[in-house]
C-alpha cells in the first residue's frame, strides 16, 4: 500500500491530507474512512471525528497512531476497492477520488527531526575506501525538501552538480538505543530520495571534514512521491531503485547492496532517539560503473533526473537555471 501527502487546489498550505493510490486514483483517506464508518450505525455519529483521528493532517502523525491506524488503512483500502473507485463519495457526498493532476503533491515528510543520509554505504564505493566500522551520515535540512515534478534550481555557487538515488527507510515508532533485533519494529515503510550534490563545494568542504552547503541548498533533497507501507525486511528486500539521467540508467541498487544492514543503521542512529516521520536513507553514491567521485555523472541545465522503484513510484525532476549562472 502506498500513501502520499497532498493539498487540494483550494486548500490553505497547512490543510494537508493523506491520500492512497488505489485503482489509478488518489483517494482522500480521511473522507474514505468516514464514508466507511458512516455505514455502521455504531460509528455513524462520530464518523468524521474518528476518521480525522486516524488519518490526521500529516503522514508522520498517521504513523504515530501506530497499529490501529494501519488497520484502518487496510480496512479503508478494502472498502474503496469493494465500492469501486469512481462511485465513491464521502458521507455527505464529498469528492474522495482524485486524478493525480488535481492534487498538489508534497514531500511525504515536511519537518522531520532526523533526516539522515548514510554516507559511503554502497559496496561498489567502499571497496575503494577503508572499511567503515560505523554507519556515519549527514543531515538534510527539511527546508531543502521538494517532491516529484519540482524543478531543481542549479545553485549559483557551483559548477559541478550531480545526483544520487537513495532509498529512505521511514521510521514509524519512536525509540532510543534500539537493539538490532528490534529494529524492524520501528520501521513504517520506505520512500525514494534523490541527494543532489554541488560536488565542487562538497569536495572543498570534505577537506575540513564537514558537509553542509554542498548538500543543503534549496531543492537539493527530492523526497517521495509516496511511502510504501511495510515493516519487515521481506517487504523491501526485492526493491530495486534506479536513477536515470536523461533516460539513461546510471545507478541501480537494492537494500542488499548496502554495506550496513537496516538493523545496524537503526541501532546506531537511534542512539539520538528516533520518531515517526524520521527517515534514514541509503544508497548515496551507488554507481553502476567506475568510481563516480572521480568520474561523476554530470548534470546540466535542462537535464532530467528520474529516480524510480516500481513499488514506490518515481521522482522526476528537471534542472533549471537560477539565472546568473557560471556554467
Amino acid at each position: 500500500m502506498n500513501i502520499c501527502l497532498g493539498l487540494l487546489e483550494s486548500s490553505r498550505p497547512d490543510q494537508t491530507r493523506i491520500f492512497a493510490e488505489i485503482g489509478g486514483k488518489l483517494i482522500d483517506l480521511q473522507l474514505a474512512y468516514a464514508a466507511l464508518l458512516s455505514q455502521s450505525p455504531e460509528h455513524q455519529a462520530n464518523a468524521y471525528k474518528l476518521a480525522a483521528f486516524y488519518f490526521p493532517e500529516t503522514i508522520a502523525a498517521f504513523l504515530a497512531r501506530a497499529e490501529p491506524a494501519k488497520k484502518c488503512l487496510d480496512e479503508t483500502a478494502a472498502f474503496v476497492r469493494r465500492s469501486g473507485v469512481s462511485e465513491l463519495r464521502g458521507p455527505a457526498g464529498e469528492k474522495i477520488a482524485y486524478d493525480a493532476q488535481e492534487i498538489r503533491l508534497l514531500p511525504p515528510f515536511l519537518n522531520p527531526e532526523k533526516s539522515f543520509v548514510i554516507g559511503f554505504s554502497d559496496r561498489a564505493r567502499v571497496e575503494a575506501l577503508p572499511k567503515a566500522e560505523i554507519p556515519t551520515g549527514f543531515y538534510k535540512l527539511p527546508q531543502t525538501f521538494v517532491t516529484n515534478g519540482a524543478p531543481i534550481v542549479w545553485p549559483k555557487f557551483s559548477n559541478e552538480v550531480d545526483a544520487d538515488g537513495c532509498l529512505a527507510i521511514v521510521i514509524g515508532k519512536a525509540g532510543k538505543r534500539i537493539a538490532p533485533e528490534k529494529a524492524w519494529e520501528h520501521v513504517a515503510g520506505a520512500t525514494l530520495m534523490i541527494d543532489i550534490t554541488a560536488r565542487d563545494i562538497n569536495k572543498r568542504e570534505g577537506l575540513t571534514t564537514n558537509n553542509l552547503l554542498g548538500k543543503n541548498f534549496p531543492s537539493s533533497t527530492c523526497l517521495g512521491p509516496a511511502v510504501l507501507i511495510g515493516n519487515a525486511r521481506k517487504d523491501f528486500a526485492a526493491l530495486e531503485v534506479e536513477l536515470a539521467i536523461d533516460r539513461v540508467v546510471k545507478q541501480k541498487f537494492a537494500l542488499c547492496d548496502c554495506v550496513f544492514t537496516v538493523e545496524q543503521i537503526i541501532a546506531r542512529w537511534s542512539i539520538l532517539g528516533i520518531k515517526p516521520g524520521d527517515w534514514l536513507a541509503i544508497g548515496a553514491s551507488m554507481a553502476l560503473q567506475g568510481d563516480r567521485l572521480q568520474n561523476p555523472v554530470p548534470l546540466n541545465i535542462g537535464s532530467t533526473i528520474c529516480c524510480s522503484s516500481p513499488a514506490i513510484g518515481e521522482l522526476s525532476h528537471q534542472i533549471v537555471s537560477a539565472g546568473g549562472l557560471r556554467r
Binding site: E113, K114, F116, G119, F120, L129, P130, K131, A132, E133, I134, T136, G137, F138, Y139, L141, P142, Q143, P155, K156, F157, R204, E205, G206, T208, T209, N210, N211, L212, L213, N216, F217, P218, W269, I271, L272, G273
Partner: protein
C-alpha cells in the same frame, strides 16, 4: 529588548524581560493592552495574530510584532499584575528559539582555537556543520552525558538569530538580517566525532539531545551596538577555561551571514560563531582532567547577553 521563551503552567509562551528582571507574558500583556487601551473586542485572538504562537512565528512577523511587544512591555510595566508579569522563579526558561529551522555552527573560526586543535592553518572559506535543531535546550537545563561518550567537551559561542528570509545577501547588508543574539554552548563528543571522521563526516558527535544550550535571552540587535566586540567566557565548576573576544573571529559575523545565506536562511534560523581557545580537547599535555563529567556545572557567558548555567547529568 530581551525576548524569551518560557514554560509557565506547562505551557510554552513568549515573553520579554522587564526593567526589574521579571518576565512579561507577551500574549497576556498585549491582549490586556488591546482590551484596556485600544478597547479591542477580540483582544486575545488579535494578540495571537499579531505576535504569532511561538518565537519563530513572532520573528516572521517582523517589525509589527516587535512594536506590539514593546507596547505590551510598557503596558505591563505600568500595570504589573501577576498574570502579566511573572517572577523568574515562577517560570522555566527555554532557549529563546527552542526549535530553529536550521542551526549552523561554525568550526575553526578563532585562530587560537585552530592552533590548539593542531590544524595547520585556518580555512579559506567559512567552515560550518549542522547541529540538529532537536539538540537545543534552555539556559539552565541539564545536559545529559550519553553513556556512549568518553570525551565530552564545551565550546562557548555567540548565537546569531536570523530575522527575515536571507538568501545570497552581501557582506555590507548582512547585519540587517539579524533579529538578535544569544549565548550558546556547542557541546561536543570528541571521541564520537573522531570515530565518525575516520570514514565519514561528523554529525552524531555534535547532536546528542541537549548538546546545544542557548539563551537565556534573545537580545534584539538594536541593543548590541558592536556585536563583533563582545567578550565571551566559559567556566567549569567556577574555574575559568575560555576567555576571549569575538573580535578574534577569522570569518566575522557579517562574513558568516553572507556566506551561509547561500543555504537560504529563514526567520529563527541560528548561526553560531565557533569558539575560542580553552576547550578540553586543546589542553596540553593531558586532556583528561578537563573532560566534562556528571555533576559538573558549565557556565557560558557572552558580554551583555547573559549566562548559560547547565549541569552535566549522567544519562
Amino acid at each position: 529588548m530581551k525576548l524569551v521563551t518560557f514554560i509557565h503552567e506547562n505551557q510554552e509562551r513568549i515573553g520579554a524581560i522587564d526593567s526589574a528582571g521579571r518576565v512579561v507574558d507577551l500574549h497576556r500583556a498585549y491582549a490586556s493592552y488591546l482590551r484596556n487601551v485600544e478597547n479591542s473586542l477580540s483582544a486575545d485572538q488579535l494578540a495571537v495574530a499579531v505576535l504569532g504562537r511561538d518565537m519563530v512565528e513572532f520573528l516572521k512577523r517582523g517589525e509589527k510584532a516587535l512594536d506590539a511587544a514593546r507596547k505590551a512591555n510598557a503596558h505591563a510595566e505600568k500595570n504589573p499584575t501577576n498574570d502579566l508579569v511573572l517572577d523568574r522563579q515562577q517560570v522555566r526558561l527555554m532557549a529563546p528559539v527552542p526549535r530553529p529551522g536550521a542551526l549552523v555552527s561554525a568550526g575553526k573560526n578563532f585562530s587560537d582555537h585552530v592552533s590548539e586543535m593542531s590544524s595547520k592553518k585556518g580555512p579559506s572559506d567559512p567552515v560550518a556543520f549542522l547541529k540538529l535543531p532537536g539538540s537545543v535546550i534552555g539556559p539552565e537545563d541539564d545536559i545529559p552525558h550519553p553513556p556512549e561518550v568518553k570525551n565530552l567537551d564545551y565550546e562557548v559561542e555567540l548565537a546569531i538569530i536570523i530575522s527575515k528570509p536571507c538568501v545570497n545577501v552581501g557582506v555590507e547588508e548582512a547585519l540587517d538580517y539579524v533579529a538578535g543574539y544569544s549565548a550558546f554552548n556547542d557541546i561536543s563528543a570528541r571521541d564520537v566525532i573522531r570515530a565518525e571522521n575516520k570514514t565519514g563526516i561528523h554529525l552524531m558527535g555534535k547532536s546528542f539531545p541537549g548538546f546545544a544550550p542557548m539563551g537565556p535571552y534573545l537580545v534584539t540587535a538594536d541593543e548590541i551596538s558592536d556585536p563583533q566586540n563582545l567578550k565571551l567566557s566559559l567556566r567549569v565548576n567556577g574555574e575559568i577555561r575560555q576567555d576571549s573576544n569575538l573580535g578574534y573571529m577569522i570569518f566575522k559575523i557579517r562574513d558568516m551571514i553572507a556566506y551561509w545565506s547561500q543555504l537560504g536562511l529563514n526567520p529563527g534560523d541560528v548561526l553560531t560563531t565557533g569558539t575560542p581557545r580553552g576547550v578540553a580537547a586543546g589542553r596540553k599535555p593531558d586532556q583528561t582532567p578537563w573532560w566534562l563529567k556528571p555533576g559538573d556545572l558549565v557556565e557560558a557567558e557572552v558580554e551583555n547577553l547573559g549566562q548559560l548555567k547547565n549541569r552535566i547529568v549522567a544519562e
